[in-house]
Subunit: 344 residues, 4 copies
C-alpha cells in the first residue's frame, strides 16, 4: 500500500522538513503541495535541496485536488489553519489529517478563546482533535481523523513530566522548565529579531513569565496529574538552527524519578532514558526523531534536575507528525524515521 | 602616575584579555609577562592581534623581575597559583596582587580542603585575601594587598542575589540558577570536548547537580543572608565565544525584587538594572565590563525570574580584575573600562 | 578642542559602530543623531548596549539642527544620501562630511549613471568628493570637505593591490579577488536571505561575475596603474558577524610583491604586513581598525597569493570614517582607534 | 543478500559517518568495529547518537575477526593504514576494501615518497588500488578489490575539472581553486587550532601555496588532460561543521564550460549541474551525498567561475565510500544514499 500524501503550507521550515522525511518513507508518495505565495513554483525554487527529487509543483490550496489524497499534513500559520481544515474535511470527511499549527492543540474552547483572543472557527473539529503526543496518546491517535501535533517546547517538557506527575513522584507545585530553542523554531518569516547578525554570538530569554505555549503544558500536565498544574516556563534562543533543550527543576526523589521514566519508556523506540546521572546533548538528536532524557540528583536532597532534548523540526514537529501518520494508518510507528542524528 | 604592571600566565585567554584592556588604560604600562611554556616568544607569536603593540617578551616566572612592578595580575591555572603568589609576596611584600584563579576565593581553609582535596599551600594568604566582587566588597578591596577575583558564573549570579538575600526579599531555600556560558570559559587547553566540531550546532548542560563553583556561591550568599544558603546551580555550554547568561528562579514579590536591585545599583556604573519586565541579552555586554540585570514576574504569583548577563572574560574575569586594580590603586574605578559592547 | 559630531542614519549597523567608536574618542562629543523611522526614541531603544552612555535622542533629519555641528557622518542608505547631503552642505557649507554610502565613491558621473541606472542628484558634490581610502589619499582627505568612505570589500582589496599595480610588480590583466564577508555587511533590513537559519551552518558565493563594487575597484586600480584594470571579483558570505577576508591571486614575483607591500606600509599604523609566507586570520582584526596583509608564494613559479583581512564595520566602514575625520580635522590619525582586536 | 561490513577506525568522524549511513542501508549488516584506544567500549560511549542502534562492541584490529566480513572500510589515520590493510588482505585476499585515508590515492610510488617522505609500506597494493572517484572511475571500481577513496577537497575540485580538462574547454595552465572547508575535515584529535574559541567568529586560509592534497589533484587532472596540470589551490577554514565549497577560476568559454558539465553529468544521480549562471550553496548538500555544480560567466570575456560544493563527510568521505561499496558489490549505486540535505 502506498499512501497519497498532500501538504498544506509546504514552503515553510516544517513543510520542508516533512518532505525531507517523506522522501525516504517507503510507503508514501507525495502527490500535492500547497504554498499560497509560491504557487506555480517548483519546490526546488524555494528549497534547492529538493532539486534531485521529483515533487509535484506548488499550488494554492484552492487549486489542490484532495480527491486522491489519503493523508493531509497541514503546516499553515495559525489562523488560516482552522478554516482551511474545516473546508478540507467537509470536502473529504474521510481524510486523515495531522495539523502542525497550534490551532488544534487545546481541547477546551474557553481556553482557546483566552489565549488567542477570539472564538475558534471550527469548534467541532477542535473538540474532535486528538493531541498528538504519540507516546502518551497513541491509542487515541490510532483512531483519530484529526491530530493536533504538539509544539516543540511542549513535546520536550511533556515527555518527561507527564509520567512524573502521573506517578506522583514530583511536587506539582514547584516545577521550573528552563527551555532553550534553536532558531528554526521562529520560522522563515523575515524579521529583524531573527537576522543572523542579531542572533549569532549571543544568547537571550524571551516571552519570560507568560509564554503562550504554557496553555498546552497546563492542559496535558493537569490531565495527567488529576490536579491543576502550572509550571514556570522560560524560553531562550540558542544561536544554532535545531534543538530544544529543557532543563527541568523538580522536587522529588531523584532515583524514583529516574526509575519512573526508565520504566515508562523502556519499550519506546524514540524516547531514550539515559543511565541515572548522565546528561544528554542536543547534538546527539539533531536531524533525528529521538528524544533523550537524563535525570540527575541535585546537591539539595529531595531535588532533581530532569533534562530533555529533541530536534525541534523532527520530534518537535514534522517527525512526530510522520510518526502520528504511521500510527493513524496502521504502519509500524518507526517507518521512515530510523535515521540517527547528524553529528558532527 | 603610571603603574607598572606584570602578568603571570599571559598566554591564556584571561591573560590575553588583560592585555587587551590594559593597552587602552591610560595609567598603566605593561612591563613584564610570564608564560612558562611559551617563554622566549613574543606575545604576538601566541596572540597575533598584539603585533601592533609594543609588549615585553614572555619569560618564565623565575626570570621575571618583580622589583619595578606595582601591580601583579596572576592568571595561572589552579594549583600553581598559590605557591607562585606566596613566593612573589615574600619577595615583594608591598606588591598589589589580583589573582584570577580559584585559589584565593574561598576564605575558609576547611572549605578549600573539602572542594579541592588538599590543604591550601598558602593559608595565611588565603585568610588575608579579599573576595574581589567589586560592587559588593569595594571598601575591603581598596585596602587589600591580595584580591581573589571571582569566577564568571559566580559574579553573574551573585550581583543580583546578594542584595536580594541581604534584603530578605526572596526565600533563601528555593533559589535555582540556570546558567549558560560561552566556550572561552573553558580556556585554551586542547581538549576533545571543546573542539569546534563537538561544540557547534548543539547545546548541553555539564557538571549538573554539584559544580565546584557552588562553593563560592554558598560562601557569599550565606555571608549576605546571615544564614546558610545553597542554591541549585546548573551550568550549560552555549556555542559562542563569550557570555554568561543566568536565569534565576526565586520566590518573592517581583516588584520588591526589582526595586531592591534598582535601588542597590542605581549609582553603579557597571551594573545596569533594566526597567521591570525587560529581559537582557548577552550580546549587549559582549566585550564590555557591564552586567545587565532584568526582573520579570512569573505567571505564578509570588515567583520571579531574575536574569543576569555579562561577558565571562571581562566582568567575569579580566575586566573585573582591572576594576579591582583601579580600586586598589585609588584610580577612578572605570578608568580604561568604558568601552561599550561590540554588537553586532 | 572638542568636535561636535552628528550622525545621519544612526540606527543601522554602521551608525551604531560609529557611536561605539566615538564614545571612546577623547576629542568628540556626539551632539545629534538622526534615524527617520526611529525618530523620538532613545538610541538605547534600538541598540541596548548604549544604555550606559548619555546620547542625544534620535530625530528626523528635518529636525536635526546642524548649526553647532563640526563633523557630519552620513550612514544613510544609497539614494537618500545624495539629496540629504546636498541639502546639508547648502545649509552649512563649512561642514566636514564623511559619507559611508556608495553615493560619493565614484568620481565619474558617467560611471555612476552606468552602475546605478540614473544620473547623480548632486553632481557637483560627486566631483568634489575625495575617495576616503586613508592610507592612499591622505593628503587629499586632509583638505577635503566631503569624503566618500570606501566600501568594505574594496578597502580590503585596494590596500594590497594599489601599491602592487602602482609599482608594476604584478600583471594587471590576471588578478582574481576571492572575497568573503561577514553577515553584518548586509545591514539590518529584515530579509529572508540573511535570517539566522538561512545563513548558519553553510557557505555560498553571491553576485558572482559582476558585483556593483567592482566599479570602485576598477576606478582606483586603474588610477594607480595608469592603465585600465578590471579584476575578477567574487564575494561570498561567511556565517560570522564581522570580517572581510580577501584571497587574491596575482602573477608576479612573490618576494618582490612582499617587499613592495612591506615597504609601502612600514610606517602605517593600521596596515600590518606579516613576514613573507605568513597568513593572516580575520579574528585578529575583529573589532579593530587594523588591516593585516600576507604574501605567500604559489607552488607555480611567478604566482603569488596575497591575503588581506579587516573588520568590515571598522576599517571597512566606521573605523576608517573616524580615521578620515581625524585626518580632516588635524587630529592624530589614530586618536580613539587604538583598541586591539577582540579575540577570542 | 546482506553484506557483512567491518570498519577499522570506527571512532573518528568518518568512521561515525559510515555508521550513520550504513544503519539505514538495506543490504548491510555491521558486524565488527575497531578502535584501538577505545577498544572494549560500546560505540555509544564514543558517539552517544548510536545508543538506539544495536552495534558490535569496539575491538582492537588484532581482535577483529575478518573471517565473516565481506567489505572492510578503513578509516585509520595515515601511516597505520598501509600496514593494517596489507595484513588484512594477506589474511583475507578476497575481501573488498574501501580505504578512506590518503594512503592509496597516489598511484605513483615516487610521488608517494615525495609527498610523504618515506617509501610506501605496501607498494603492490598501492599499484593495485583504484582511485575511488565514483563518477569518473566507475568501471575500474566495479572490478576493484581495493579502492582508495578520494579526499574531500579533491573530490570537490575534480568532479568539475576532470571533464573540463578532458574536453579541452579550459586552459590547463591557469586554474585557481579557492577552496573552503568545514571544521570536521580536521578530525577529532584535540588541538588548540581547532578549539571552538579559536575557530568561531573568524576565517582564515592555511597551507597556502603548497598543500599535500595538490598531489591528488595533479595526478587526476594530468591523467584526464593528457598533459601535466598543476592548479593553484588554497584551502580555508569555515567556522561550520560540514562543507567543502570550491570557487574555481578558469579561462575558457563560460557557456561551453557549462554545456560540457551539464552533458557529462546529465545522468549522474549525485552530481547536479545547476542552470547556467546559478550559484550553489553548501547548506543544500549538508548531510547528503550530492555535489552541486554551478558555472557563471566572469565580466572578463573568456573567463568563467565554476563552483562546486559537497558535504566533506558524505560525498567527500563516507558517502562516496558507501557509493563505492555499492559499485564494487553490484548493488544499485544509490542504495542507502538517497537522503536529501538537512536544511535548515
Amino acid at each position: 500500500m502506498t499512501l497519497s500524501v498532500a501538504i498544506y503550507g509546504a514552503s515553510g521550515y516544517t513543510g520542508a522538513e516533512l518532505i525531507r522525511l517523506l522522501t525516504v518513507h517507503p510507503d508514501v508518495k507525495i502527490t500535492a503541495l500547497s504554498a499560497e505565495s509560491n504557487a506555480g513554483k517548483a519546490m526546488a525554487d524555494v528549497f534547492p535541496q529538493f532539486a534531485a527529487y521529483d515533487l509535484p509543483r506548488l499550488t494554492t490550496i484552492a487549486d489542490l485536488d484532495l480527491a486522491p489524497v489519503d493523508v493531509l499534513f497541514c503546516a499553515l500559520p495559525h489562523g488560516t489553519t482552522q478554516t482551511s481544515l474545516k473546508a478540507a474535511l467537509e470536502t473529504r470527511p474521510d481524510l486523515k489529517v495531522v495539523d502542525l499549527s497550534a490551532d488544534f492543540r487545546l481541547s477546551d474552547p474557553a481556553m482557546y478563546q483566552h489565549w488567542y483572543g477570539h472564538a475558534h472557527q471550527a469548534e467541532a473539529l477542535q473538540t474532535e482533535a486528538v493531541y498528538g503526543l504519540t507516546e502518551i496518546h497513541r491509542e487515541a491517535i490510532a483512531g483519530a481523523r484529526l491530530v493536533g501535533n504538539p509544539g516543540c517546547y511542549t513535546t520536550t517538557a511533556l515527555l518527561p513530566l507527564i509520567p512524573l506527575v502521573g506517578a506522583g513522584v514530583i511536587d506539582t507545585d514547584n516545577i521550573v522548565v528552563d527551555a532553550k530553542s534553536g532558531v528554526t523554531g521562529a520560522g522563515r518569516a523575515a524579521k529583524v529579531a531573527t537576522l543572523f547578525s542579531e542572533v549569532a554570538e549571543g544568547f537571550h530569554a524571551y516571552s519570560v513569565g507568560n509564554h503562550r505555549h504554557t496553555a498546552e503544558l497546563d492542559q496535558e500536565l493537569s490531565l495527567a496529574a488529576g490536579v491543576s498544574v502550572a509550571p514556570t516556563f522560560t524560553p531562550h534562543l540558542i544561536p544554532i538552527n535545531r534543538a530544544i533543550y529543557a532543563t527541568i527543576y523538580v522536587t522529588g526523589d531523584p532515583e524514583a524519578i529516574h526509575a519512573t521514566l526508565a520504566e515508562r519508556y523502556a519499550s519506546e523506540y524514540f524516547v531514550n532514558v539515559l543511565p541515572f546521572g548522565e546528561v544528554p546533548q542536543s547534538r546527539h538528536v539533531r536531524g533525528s526523531n529521538f528524544t533523550r532524557l537524563g535525570v540527575v540528583a541535585d546537591r539539595r536532597p529531595g531535588r532533581a534536575i530532569v533534562i530533555s532534548t529533541l530536534d525541534n523540526l523532527v520530534k518537535g514537529a514534522s517527525g512526530q507528525a510522520v510518526q502520528n501518520m504511521n500510527v493513524m494508518c496502521g504502519l509500524d510507528e518507526t517507518t521512515g524515521l530510523k535515521q540517527l542524528a547528524l553529528f558532527p
